[in-house]
């Protein structure tokens, strides 16, 4: 076997509070006589005690270094988490954004003294609009779901201004991410679920039957969560527009189209990007991300405040009167935006499209190599990801078992049990970052699991065998929640 497998150095590490020793110090501050300083505050405004650990610097470093070794990361190896676009995060990006000229710039700095960052923001607003085929783009949203919230808020503001009070529904295909319906609900819209057809796509007749003057629009992920491109996209957007609605594009899968085609050219009115996915700013163990939103011309005035404009060679902030409002403090996760800016310059106009081309090639290669071993519910052509399922697995082996068996073979598992329209889904997204030998090794591991499931099912059912912990009791965690460490545990 050529796949990496897993055998590792792991040192035991307690919860940080258990490392605490009274009187230990890990911080360094200038010497200063602080006697009596607390009396500046009246006693009733002061706290009594503060339960934080007492540690030396080396204690803290060892603790977090050891914890870090308990994570599987993209820099360890293949991380085919579907819909999450775990592509390589260039090291130069990390280095350049740590320049104190960026990190030490306060958000209330008057514009003339913040021209570098403002220029980058202005350029990013423009470039992200250009890449998606939009008129303008906001950088404010802090994550994909926050971008969805913002984009749907823009749609709400548009119909408010039009005086159209009837349009309170948004159509969402059943294959969509859970954030889509939640973002609509947060904006006060009612969700109408559109059932995907036998090809995993939006059927035009089904769509037609759902459209009426109460529908504000449709929320569409394209390619969808099966990796299937809605090839009727032009007909879909026209039909929704003709019915007076708007089309929201969920940019979660933008990596399939980056530099190859533009959602704006397909009639998408508003779309959020995920900079941590498509533009490689790292995922950070679950954030920070960034979810910029691009819009067509007629929605520009509803973008959240503020945004950067250029006037007589000076970059500065501006507000729009018809804006949906402010969606957070300050201007977005600038540290994340900077990395995406650098990423775009790394590829440039010459190479940006190669990301999508290689991502789609890699996904189709995996599909071609594994389709004889794993069941594919939908046979449609796919782009950047592929969704298998466990329906033909022997010996009651489920998707969860396959995921755990992959861990033993040295991989982060794919996304499991999503999309919901595929029972026992295994959603694999390789991205453009992986070499052919990495894919071949993964394919070998997947085939090995399929074979072992027949010959030695216990090996799969008991997986993972090579990790420090295995199959945590999640029911117990939810039934008797322990959400913080307490003394005497």
């Amino acid at each position: 076997m050529s796949y990496p497998g897993m055998k590792d150095l792991k040192l035991k590490e307690s919860v940080i509070f258990e490392r605490s020793r009274e009187g230990r110090r890990g911080y360094s501050l200038p010497e200063e006589n602080l006697e009596g300083a607390e009396n500046i505050l009246p006693a009733e405004l002061r706290r009594a005690d503060l339960d934080l650990p007492e540690l030396s610097e080396v204690d803290v470093v060892r603790h977090y270094t050891r914890l870090s070794t308990y994570n599987y990361s993209l820099d360890h190896g293949f991380y085919p988490l579907g819909s999450c676009t775990m592509k390589y995060n260039p090291k130069i990006n990390e280095k350049l954004v740590r320049n104190p000229q960026f990190t030490e710039l306060h958000p209330e700095t008057p514009a003339p003294y913040a021209q570098g960052t403002l220029k980058i923001m202005f350029e990013m607003q423009r470039m992200l609009a250009e890449i998606g085929g939009f008129a303008a783009c906001t950088l404010n949203p802090a994550a994909g779901a926050h971008g969805e919230y913002t984009g749907i808020g823009i749609i709400r503001s548009y119909f408010d201004k039009m005086g159209d009070k009837k349009r309170k529904k948004i159509i969402i295909p059943d294959s969509a991410h859970g954030t889509n319906p939640a973002s609509c609900a947060l904006n006060g819209f009612e969700v109408v679920v559109l059932q995907s057809d036998e090809h995993g796509k939006v059927n035009l007749d089904t769509l037609r039957s759902l459209l009426n003057d109460e529908v504000a629009g449709i929320m569409l992920t394209n390619p969808n969560t099966l990796g299937v491109f809605e090839s009727d996209i032009l007909a879909i957007t026209k039909m929704v527009h003709d019915a007076g609605g708007l089309v929201y594009g969920d940019g979660a899968n933008m990596n399939a189209l980056l530099g190859v085609a533009r959602p704006g050219d397909m009639g998408i009115d508003v779309l959020h990007y995920n900079l941590h996915k498509t533009f490689s700013t790292p995922h950070g163990g679950g954030g920070p991300g960034a979810g910029p939103v691009g819009v067509c011309q007629k929605l520009v005035e509803f973008l959240p405040n503020p945004f950067v404009v250029e006037k007589d060679g000076l970059y500065t902030f501006n507000d729009s009167d018809n804006s949906m409002g402010r969606v957070r403090s300050f201007y977005g996760n600038m540290g994340v935006t900077l990395k995406a800016f650098i990423y775009i310059l790394e590829y440039g106009k010459e190479h940006l499209g190669e990301t999508a081309q290689n991502a789609v090639l890699n996904a189709n290669y995996i599909k071609a190599c594994l389709r004889d071993y794993y069941h594919l519910k939908y046979k449609s052509d796919t782009l950047h990801e592929v969704v298998f399922d466990d329906s033909e697995m022997p010996n009651h082996i489920t998707t969860m078992d396959i995921a755990k068996a992959l861990i033993d073979r040295g991989y982060h598992p794919p996304t499991v049990y999503f999309p919901l329209i595929v029972h026992g889904a295994l959603m694999i997204e390789p991205t453009e970052s992986e070499s052919k030998e990495t894919l071949d090794e993964f394919i070998e591991a997947m085939i090995d699991i399929a074979e072992t499931a027949k010959t030695n099912p216990e090996n799969i059912l008991n997986a993972p065998l090579n990790t420090a912990i295995s199959r945590p009791d999640e029911t117990l965690a939810a039934r008797k929640p322990v959400l913080k460490w307490t003394r005497g545990e």
């Binding site: 021209q115 163990g285 402010r326 957070r328 775009i344 970052s433």
Partner: protein, 452 residues
């Protein structure tokens, strides 16, 4: 291209296996007329040395990054111990994703479990979640959550002294959800909510949102607000934007807060032009299952080992979809880790020491400005590391003149409070030496017309 490993030869082999002739065949599901025919209007590809030069030059245009700064207003410059960035730069932390697979994510899971513990302890609240985007969205989500708890009530009250960006964000999120949002107006003498305004709190009030220290740096009459709010059965939602204050200040738990939120940027995270920071969200245990956002819980694995998992996900969008408590999907994982590393490094003594250093500097600066410049301290009462001064002439002119001397003297309150034309909100932290404070006083004296 340096990040794309597939060679031409391999591409050919892969296409053969797939059974198509070219990569463009794989894009055949797309309408051919939407395929990009021309180059995008973006710059040409750059090498690493070129990128270094570009970013260096752009960085130099941020002259404000090097100036002596007294800017606060929801984003604070503190000393960040060197190990914080060193630790979060471990790629095991920053190149992993949401800990969906606990067996290979215990690092993130335990770090965030510890974060929840440290934040709950700092706020003295029962539970903290795994973090929100920032303080403003945390505050907005807190109002939405209280609306779901207080189903029979209609009115949200917000202190006008809450960070105006937070108020705007709350309005965006909840303006069309709740029947009314009213402000508790400020007393011009104290810079805090006027006592008579508390009469607005009644049996129809869903929640009362206030901030301490508030936008002007003042510490509200927290016990009185708490007393009246609870008397009327409304939920008490304090907001803390300057979290280091909790090294010394009475906590949300001390005033029996129901939900308490804030921003953890001050805890070891650079100002970064306003993001990423980390939103903090805490509440009483009885409201735990109504909380937005990710939660990490302790459990045991099949062999009885202590371990950590994502939990109570029946609240979340991937399970509940449109019925979820929020649409939030991620957290600010890496920033939450940074804040935990900061809190672990400072420990209980360090947090107190930092808080006292801030308190002392603000007190020193405030007194010197009052004594030696034509400026006045705007409000009577207690503050932490931020306070408001009144300039004899227009505040913006004074700030402009200070900036020309290399000093960012504070935030003109006029931006959000037009009636406060002469007010500047000044922040100082432990990064300032007393010499720097003296330098500021001298410069301020000069730009505002000399000695008193």
């Amino acid at each position: 291209m340096r990040y794309l490993p597939i060679t031409d030869k391999e591409r050919k082999e892969m296409l053969d296996k797939i059974g198509v002739k070219s990569v463009s065949d794989l894009f055949s599901p797309l309408p051919q007329n939407v395929l990009l025919k021309k180059e995008l209007n973006i710059p040409s590809a750059k090498s690493e040395p070129e990128l270094e030069k570009i970013m260096d030059e752009l960085g130099r245009e941020n002259t404000g990054a090097n100036m002596l700064s007294f800017l606060g207003g929801g984003c604070y410059k503190h000393h960040c111990p060197a190990l914080v960035d060193q630790m979060i730069s471990r790629s095991e932390f920053y190149t992993s994703y949401t800990p969906y697979q606990p067996e290979v994510s215990q690092g993130t899971l335990q770090a965030i479990f510890e974060f929840q513990t440290m934040i709950a302890n700092l706020f003295k609240m029962d539970v903290a979640n795994a973090s929100m985007y920032d303080g403003a969205t945390a505050a907005a989500e807190a109002v939405l959550m209280s609306h779901k708890i207080q189903t029979k009530r209609h009115k949200v009250l917000i202190a006008s002294t809450v960070n105006p960006q937070y108020i705007q964000t709350i309005r965006t999120y909840t303006g069309f959800v709740v029947d009314s949002i009213d402000l508790l107006e400020m007393d011009g003498a104290t810079g805090c909510v006027a006592e008579k305004e508390l009469a607005k709190i009644d049996e129809d009030t869903i929640c009362v949102v206030f901030q301490y220290p508030n936008y002007f740096g003042m510490i509200e009459n927290i016990r009185k607000i708490s007393e009246v709010t609870h008397e009327k059965g409304a939920l008490l939602i304090p907001v803390i934007t300057e979290t280091t204050a909790l090294g010394i200040l009475a906590t949300p738990g001390d005033i029996d807060a129901d939900i308490a939120v804030g921003d953890g940027q001050a805890l070891g995270i650079p100002v970064n032009f306003g993001g990423p920071g980390v939103g903090l969200f805490t509440c009483k245990e009885k409201y735990m299952r109504k909380m937005p956002g990710r939660l990490i819980g302790q459990t045991v694995d099949k062999n009885g080992n202590r371990c950590f998992v994502l939990t109570l996900s029946a609240r979340e969008q991937h399970i509940k979809r449109e019925k979820a408590t929020s649409n939030i999907c991620s957290n600010q994982g890496l920033m939450a880790t940074a804040a935990s590393i900061y809190l672990a490094t400072m420990g209980k003594e360090g947090m107190k020491e930092v808080a006292l250093m801030n308190l002392k500097r603000a007190d020193y600066l405030k007194n010197r400005i009052e004594k030696e410049t034509p400026c006045k301290v705007a409000f009577k009462g207690s503050n932490y590391n931020e306070f408001t001064i009144l300039t004899p002439g227009c505040a913006c002119c004074a700030l402009k003149a200070l900036a020309e001397k290399g000093i960012l003297g504070g935030i003109a309150a006029k931006k959000y409070y037009p009636e406060l034309e002469n007010a500047i909100i000044v922040n100082t932290t432990e990064i300032h030496s007393y010499e720097e404070l003296d330098k500021f006083v001298a410069a301020l004296k000069e730009v505002t017309g000399g000695a008193k």
